[in-house]
Symmetry: C2
Subunit: 189 residues, 2 copies
């Protein structure tokens, strides 16, 4: 699934400008799909060319013109077809985990920095999710609820795991040579 299809999906939900769509990627989609203007505007151009969306360059009272896109009947059908044809893949690309994997090649101070930074990002994303849910959670569709909750569950699990297991890579005292109990990973919340 590419950015084009996602843009079509957003427009199936409500009319929007390219700028609005970017905002949507930054909020609702932020924890499972990314896209910048460099992908979104060309996508909108191609979708328009194919007749799946259209736009009226609206002039709004006293304000500058902007392109408000909306999905066509054909576009809506195309999106539903795409949903049925898309393989439900789930890919992670984590430089964070790469760094951790090679922990013994890094100074402990750098490791601590990396772990703290990741924890900070997780907290920030969780905060963002909370804010979104407080503001508009009561209007969420079941799908939005499911995905929002999924994001929260994964983020919390990540945070807890990092907090409880960072000693594995940060402790350089090597007191665990004989593989004592302290070496067991902790998964419990």
């Amino acid at each position: 699934m590419d950015v084009k299809t996602l843009c079509l999906g957003v427009l199936c939900h409500c009319d929007a400008t390219g700028y609005d769509i970017k905002k949507h990627f930054e909020s609702a989609f932020s924890h499972f799909f990314l896209a910048g203007y460099g992908s979104i505007y060309p996508a909108l151009a191609e979708l328009t060319e194919r007749g799946l969306i259209c736009c009226d360059a609206e002039s709004r009272a006293g304000k500058r013109e902007r392109k408000l896109y909306r999905v066509t009947e054909e576009g809506r059908r195309a999106f539903e077809d795409a949903l049925c044809a898309t393989e439900p893949r789930h890919k992670v690309r984590s430089e964070f985990l790469v760094l951790l994997y090679f922990a013994q090649l890094m100074p402990t101070s750098r490791l601590t920095e990396v772990l703290d930074q990741r924890l900070g990002e997780i907290e920030a994303t969780l905060g963002q999710l909370d804010t979104m849910e407080r503001l508009e959670g009561d209007r969420w569709s079941p799908g939005e609820q499911f995905v929002g909750g999924f994001g929260r569950a994964i983020l919390e699990a990540s945070r807890n795991y990092i907090r409880q297991n960072r000693h594995l890579v940060e402790d350089t005292t090597d007191s665990g040579q004989t593989s004592g109990v302290s070496d067991l990973r902790v998964n419990a919340v």
Copy 2:
């Protein structure tokens, strides 16, 4: 961080052929980084050209020749520098969550199929992790332990969340119109 750097990382751990490296991506890295031959072989060629790795086309007794690569001193330094310079990003690209987000545009049967497929993949990956840990877990470095445990924690959290919340998108009975208690997401294990 690109495939080149990761190949260098694998070679810092032990000598390997392109084929071996692909296997490493499929096992140890599978849940946080992907690469195919189409990325790996060109990467090895460029790393060789830059003098960061080298290979002796070994002829092994009675067996076909193969290119066993090993890291040079310069390559090892370059990799350590890369580790310190790499931003610890963590990106997810999930068609699975996209589909779930647009659940109301899909037939329930398709949704069930998607959820079951994902659960199957999660179980398969968990099984793979278990096997790896049983076979070689006692030789894992702290970094490998941390990353392996992280993968397990996230996979288990995903599985539990899906099991406990799939009704949000699968129940079409609409009995929750008045936002009763049954609408609450369940996060507990």
